[in-house]
Amino acid sequence: MLKDVTLGQYFPGDSVVHRLDPRTKILLVILYIAALFNAESWVGYGVMLVCLGAAIAVSGIRLSSMVRGLKPIVFIVILTSLLNLFYSTGEVLVQFWIFKITREGIKAAILMAARLVMLVMGTFMLTYTTSPIMLTYGLELLLNPLKKLKVPVHELAMMMSMALRLIPTLIEETDKIMSAQKARGAEFDTGNLIDKAKAMLPILVPLFLSSFRRADELATAMEARCYHGGEGRTRLNVLKLAFRDYAALVLGVLVLAGIVVLARFGL
């Protein structure tokens, strides 16, 4: 049941998208999001959709995996679309009770849904094609200048990678504890909201305790392997920007510029 969670999932591969430097991919996602929020018209969205589609096609990630990842946000997408649908002013098409649907409302609803879906899919492109370790390493390098401002960049990156490392273990653990309590007759799907919340206790208490225990043991093991903060650390895999990274970044900037220009002309 919990095995369907795609958070932090990584699909190993050898495509150009996979091989891009994680820093490049992080910057591209930022450019992509900026462009998405600047796009205002069908044309703008069309351009963004082509970019996203091209990236997905090149990466070799299956569309079904992308769609499966969208499940958790379906509710939010529908809700925001509905709000946009009913709360826009303009040319009224249908009217009933206190609701009126306008031409502008329909457009806003569709574009808002598209924006959210494309936003999530774009970030998936980053996490699906970049191993968590590489992702945090990239982030650490990008944020390195902040070290001058006493921001604990290395520690934050290490925390993030440890969290990502523990996610699969904790998911497995949750499954196991749930089964064990079910075997003792616990039921998680009956009763009202309060009953259901109470029923979570036999899962949450052991889960918290075991997370603390694991974190403690992991910290000891890291210490035993000479971990002593970021100072003087070297890397097995050193990141180097290649030609393709520069090319991808230039392309990204051009797309953003294009979208901004289009928006200027009301497109």
Binding site: K3, R184, L209
Partner: protein, 289 residues
């Protein structure tokens, strides 16, 4: 032998069917568990043992096939699922990590409470289960998290025993304990078995323990039941067991080697006691001569 209490019929379980991760964990399994017997299930990691035992109380639903509890399909209705959870108790690996209540008493009472028993009956069962598992009265009001590893394990097992299951299934109940702790847990389980006549199913990869207690053994390999029979019958097929990646009891190894060296031993020998009596026979023969 008497009639089976649990019957596993043509059970197949496939994980993530229709995806690239599709995996057949159980492949057409038939297995009977008889009233009051001690059944040892052995198999290497990935042989399907855990998947199988989770089917026995409807935690996992079969892809195909059925499990019958006293002749009725356990997955028939919500009610039958509830019933099987009470009648087939399942103790997972490292069960002490599932303790959650403030006191030992309340943790042991969790199962009986879920069965909606009346308070007097719950109290009776908690104390009985504590007695079976050697959890002293004075510990009942303590927090389970203050206990030693071995005590925690016994409390966790008491939590399942308190449901008074007719079949008690335990997955590697002695894993990670020191020899003294292992012996105690095994004794606790045997006490429950003797006093209630419940069937015991022990999943283990420790051949010594399986050998010394089980009436019958089932060997799982690659999702199939590769052998069933008495320990004598199973251990007589030592070479096959070793090919399946299972270690044979050390006494079987000694017996095989002795035979190879030309010492004649009767039948199958797999425990120290059996070996002692077999060798004393030989010694006696010599002394008489």
């Amino acid at each position: 032998m008497n009639e089976p209490i649990l019957k596993v019929e043509n059970l197949t379980h496939i994980y993530s069917p229709g995806t690239p991760f599709e995996m057949t964990a159980l492949d057409n399994i038939d297995l009977d568990i008889y009233k009051g017997e001690i059944l040892g299930i052995i198999g290497h990691t990935g042989s399907g043992k855990s998947t199988l035992i989770q089917h026995l109380n409807a935690l996992i639903k079969p892809t195909s096939g059925r499990i019958l509890l006293e002749g009725r399909d356990i997955n028939e209705s919500k009610q039958s699922v509830r019933e099987v959870r009470g009648k087939v108790g399942l103790v997972f690996q490292y069960p002490e990590y599932q303790l959650f209540e403030e006191t030992v008493y309340r943790d042991i009472a969790f199962g009986p409470k879920n069965m909606k028993l009346d308070p007097a009956e719950i109290d009776r069962r908690v104390r009985l289960a504590a007695r079976f598992t050697g959890v002293e009265e004075s510990l009942l009001e303590r927090s389970p998290f203050d206990l030693s590893g071995g005590q925690k394990r016994r409390v966790a097992i008491a939590g399942v025993i308190a449901m008074m299951p007719e079949v008690l299934v335990l997955d590697e109940p002695m894993a990670g304990l020191d020899p003294g702790g292992r012996e105690e847990i095994m004794e606790n389980i045997m006490t429950y078995h003797r006093e209630t006549g419940a069937a015991i199913v022990i999943v283990t990869h420790s051949m010594e323990e399986a050998a010394s207690r089980a009436d019958r053994m089932a060997v799982l390999s690659h999702g199939k039941v590769a052998m069933t029979g008495t320990p004598e019958e199973v251990f007589a097929r030592g070479e096959e067991l070793r090919r399946m990646g299972l270690a044979t009891p050390v006494m079987t190894d000694v017996a095989d080697k002795l035979r190879a060296l030309g010492v004649e031993l009767p039948g199958t020998v797999y425990t120290v006691e059996q070996m002692v009596s077999a060798l004393m026979e030989l010694e006696g023969g010599k002394r008489r001569a």
